[in-house]
């Protein structure tokens, strides 16, 4: 069972970046007025941010990281850079290596990508802790971001209006007096096909298939190089596993939901997050939502929600947070942690 107690780590800053361009649900040309209304009501997505053609997830994360490092003045103390993304710049090398150089980090800094989506930010926090908690490393820069809009077909009503683009940077450091964190995580690979881009890598290289758009259901057009999502399977997975994982984490920490300041869920869609929240008996005001303005931003959705919805509280208050990421894989991770005096910024990418 992947349950862990994490020690000696503190989050110092969380910066997020979203593109300036806004796509509104009601302007999506493949929705009728009623469909748009129903989609916005059910998913909660009123609008989302979409990156320009020449902007990548690493570009958005770069801006978040560069601004954070300038503000914190700690370029030379970063010993590890982790970039959580499923939309890297290249097949190889890892985008983290490119970012190490672009950010001007020392060559003594380790850097690698982590190929996880919606659960990735929480896994990234765990990784940062694993490297920091022995006291060997000084600071870790965790970047999490995705340009999911590059993978969706414009005529796929189930995916195209759901996703937004965003990047984030989180600064963590060794803190010998830091309070314990508690983690529960898991994987169910039987759900691999529920969220998938089939073509483009080794199993189905581009040259091995004809890139043909197919109407897989009424109003749902895509090819094998586009992201396909089975909403019903995702809903079932989330409702079956996420409440259990949150309960496991709370049990490990020996606390109950009413002792939490906030439950911060991956912003999958409002129907899923509301269903989980109600199952956990957490009031709406303790479960911040950013999906209305940004859509599902994959690995960036938790840090983005922290920056957009909890900025003041993170700066001024000592908080007990439970973060839970879940999605593609299927994969999930819940982390209970305390924060104090965390700097945040929400920036736009021109």
């Amino acid at each position: 069972m992947a349950e862990l107690i994490l020690k000696h780590t503190a989050i110092k800053a969380i910066y997020s970046v979203v593109p300036k361009t806004v796509y509104k649900t009601h302007d999506y040309p493949y929705f009728s007025e009623d469909e748009a209304k129903m989609f916005a009501k059910t998913t909660g997505i009123v609008e989302r941010r979409v990156a320009a053609t020449n902007v990548t997830a690493s570009d958005m994360c770069f801006k978040a990281a560069q601004t954070l490092l300038e503000d914190m003045n700690c370029y030379h103390e970063i010993d590890l850079l982790v970039f959580v993304t499923q939309s890297p710049d290249y097949f190889l090398p890892s985008s983290a290596a490119i970012l190490q150089d672009k950010l001007g980090l020392p060559i003594t800094c380790m850097a690698f990508d982590v190929n996880l989506g919606c659960s990735g930010y929480v896994h990234g926090l765990l990784l940062a802790n694993r490297y920091l908690q022995q006291g060997g490393l000084r600071k870790v820069l965790l970047l999490a971001g995705d340009k999911s809009t590059i993978s969706t077909h414009e005529q796929d009503k189930t995916a195209f209006p759901l996703f937004g683009d965003a990047g984030s940077a989180t600064l963590l450091e060794y803190d010998p007096k830091g309070e314990d964190w508690f983690l529960d995580a898991g994987t169910d690979g039987s759900g691999a096909e529920a969220i998938i881009i089939e073509a483009g890598h080794s199993r189905m290289p581009y040259q091995s298939f004809e890139d043909q758009d197919i109407e897989v259901a009424p109003g749902v057009v895509r090819s094998k190089k586009h992201l396909a999502i089975d909403g019903m399977a995702v809903f079932n997975f989330a409702l079956k596993n996420v409440p259990k994982s949150i309960n496991n984490t709370l049990a490990l920490a020996k606390i109950t939901t009413d002792q939490l300041d906030y439950l911060v869920l991956h912003q999958a869609n409002q129907l899923i997050t509301d269903s989980i929240r109600k199952k956990m008996n957490v009031p709406q005001e303790k479960c911040p939502s950013s999906i209305g303005g940004f859509g599902n931003t994959s690995s960036a959705s938790i840090p983005l929600t922290l920056c957009s919805e909890l900025s003041e509280a993170l700066k001024k208050e000592r908080l007990c947070l439970l973060l839970c990421g879940f999605g593609v894989g299927f994969s999930w991770a819940s982390l209970l942690l305390s924060t104090h005096n965390v700097a945040t910024k929400l920036l736009e990418y021109d």
Binding site: E35, G231, S275, K278
Partner: protein
């Protein structure tokens, strides 16, 4: 668990529906503008009201509101429905 309550919950959930619009024999996929979104709302509603999670195959096996009620009832009790 009564089918009238089940139907009332469905009529309350969808703002286009008025009381009396839905009967046990209503074919839910014939609802105006039916989409995968409606299917998710049904599943979420049943989960929140009855703590029963229907998967895609179970939903596919249902045609009428009564089918949905019956499968929900069976998953709760493992017995016949009280219609």
């Amino acid at each position: 668990m009564e089918i009238v309550d089940f139907i009332a919950a469905i009529e309350e959930e969808f703002e286009d529906l008025n009381p009396g619009d839905v009967s046990p024999n209503s074919v839910f996929r014939d609802m105006e503008g039916w989409s995968s979104m409606h299917a998710l709302i049904f599943v979420a509603l049943i989960d929140s009201k009855y703590d029963v999670l229907l998967n895609g195959d179970e939903l596919k096996s249902c045609v009428t509101i009564k089918d949905l009620f019956d499968i929900t009832f069976l998953k709760i009790n493992g017995g016949g429905a009280n219609t």
